[in-house]
């Protein structure tokens, strides 16, 4: 599962940074039928989390009420240089993981 992440690569200590993520996923609602009339099983990303150097800064429980290819925009404070990790899981149990490094100047 591909994802596109937009966030600053560098930041000053204590600066508010904006993180935007777009995950490629159909977010199948479970209410649609296929061409032969069979119900398409629900398959949505149900959990998403963002960790900054191992500490959780944002988490979301999603449902079929979120559009296909879910987009999320949220904020965090740049504390230290390191990695920001994005993880998510869908109903089929498929997991996604992305990492971005950030350099924080004093």
């Amino acid at each position: 599962m591909a994802a596109r992440i937009q966030m600053p690569k560098q930041a000053r200590h204590g600066e508010l940074i904006e993180i935007r993520i777009l995950i490629q996923h159909p977010m199948e609602t479970g209410y649609r039928h296929d061409d032969v009339g069979h119900l398409i099983k629900r398959n949505v990303i149900n959990a998403f989390s963002c960790r900054y150097n191992g500490e959780e800064v944002f988490r979301a429980d999603l449902s079929s009420g979120i559009s296909a290819n879910p987009y999320l925009q949220f904020y965090t404070v740049a504390e230290a240089s390191g990695e920001i990790e994005f993880a998510w899981i869908d109903d089929e149990g498929k997991q996604g993981l992305e990492r971005q490094s950030i350099a924080v100047k004093a």
Binding site: T29, Y31, Y52, G65, I66, S67, F74
Partner: protein, 148 residues
């Protein structure tokens, strides 16, 4: 009888069928989905700002922004923001969990809406209080529930 008079008389006599409110009932504090989070605590109006367009051409993807007035410090911050829908088959659309590390209590996403409705955003603060805001939206083309 003139056509105009006839029509005027008709409009008074027609009783529109009242649909049961269950499907489109407004999300209140007593809604089990809300109660599960608040545990019966009162939900106050204010502090939360839910931004949705007034009209959406396509319910499959509607830009949504929710922000909460909060200093976002360790003592006073937003713990979570919950989104509820009146008409979607899934009432609790999404829950976002924040913390003092978020720095700013604002989340944007895109939502799916099954028809014109009222969307409610409820914020849970670190002091245990709950705040909410609602937004009315007209959806021209609903997000499909069936093959339509």
């Amino acid at each position: 009888m003139k056509r105009r008079e006839f029509l005027a008389g008709l409009s008074g006599s027609i009783v529109l069928p009242t649909l049961p409110r269950a499907a489109g009932a407004q999300v209140t504090q007593l809604d089990p989905h809300v109660w599960a989070i608040t545990k019966g605590a009162t939900v106050k109006k204010g502090r939360v700002k839910l931004e949705l367009p007034q009209l959406a051409d396509n319910g499959n993807s509607v830009a949504m922004k929710v922000s909460v007035e909060s200093p976002m410090t360790a003592e006073d911050h937003v713990r979570g923001i919950h989104l509820f829908s009146d008409r979607n088959p899934v009432t609790r659309m999404a829950s976002f969990y924040l913390g003092p590390r978020a720095g700013k209590a604002e989340v944007s996403s895109r939502v799916r809406l099954a028809g014109s409705q009222r969307v409610t955003a409820m914020a849970e603060l670190s002091d245990g209080s709950f705040w909410s805001d609602t937004a009315e939206i007209v959806v021209t083309l609903s997000a499909c529930l069936d093959e339509s």
